[in-house]
Amino acid sequence: MILENNMTLTRRKVLVFGGSALAVGSLAGAPAFASLTDNAIAEMTGGAEIGEGAITLSAPEIAENGNTVPISIDAPGAAAITLFADGNPVPAVATFNFGPLSASRSASTRIRLAGTQNVVALAKMEDGSFQRASTNVKVTIGGCGG
């Protein structure tokens, strides 16, 4: 349209073009970004119904540094638990597969969070059903190490 009305395409107009494309891109990008986790979960569950309540996800409400955030998961009867961080560039964090000698179906680890976001745990239970838990972790920046 702009090109039709005015055949001289200035540098500024190209920038406007680029800018609006970028704006649309980032608007569309935001929800798409968050759903990377949903997509991954949908792929794992094959669209099966996901229950809640049989899995516990423990994480600090506020993390002093996003580099090392302690996380614990506990889902009695789980065969495997996958952790996601929905605001990280790559949401997948880890998958714990419990072997025959695993006692409780629980584990703790330390993870990186790029900023304040939701941590999601998806458990595949031994009966083939799925359980989900999610918690928000606020990540603060700064620190003096004294």
């Binding site: 790559v90 997948a92 714990f96 419990f98 072997g99 025959p100 000698l101 695993s102 584990a107 680890t109």
Partner: protein, 109 residues
């Protein structure tokens, strides 16, 4: 082999048969995420431990797939059943093909 990699493992020395014990494992590793850039703006290639396993007398306890979001010096804590005396074997798999392992014996009465 990545530099300065050193596993640390905490397993009780003894337990009673069928008891649940808690195990802690830590390995020194940078876990370079592949998201960072160096001073020249070039992406520093990903170099992480991508898998960790714990087995007891050849039977699996836990098998973990790690992504770059696992912190530097990966730490895991988990529970195991110990049916008889034997040996735990802990194995870490590095992106660069290196495999690090360490073993711990436990006496079961």
């Amino acid at each position: 082999m990545a530099k300065g990699v050193k596993p640390r493992v905490k397993v009780p020395k003894s337990a009673s048969a069928g008891e649940t014990i808690t195990i802690k494992c830590l390995i020194s590793h940078k876990m370079e995420s592949g998201q960072r850039k160096d001073g020249d703006g070039k992406v520093i290639p990903r170099s992480i431990i991508n898998r960790f396993t714990a087995d007891f007398n050849g039977e699996n306890v836990i098998d973990v797939t790690l992504e770059p979001a696992i912190s530097t010096n990966p730490y895991f804590q988990f529970d195991s059943v110990v049916p008889e005396s034997g040996e735990f074997k802990f194995t870490w798999y590095d992106d660069d093909g290196s495999v690090y392992d360490t073993r711990k014996k436990i006496a079961v009465s």
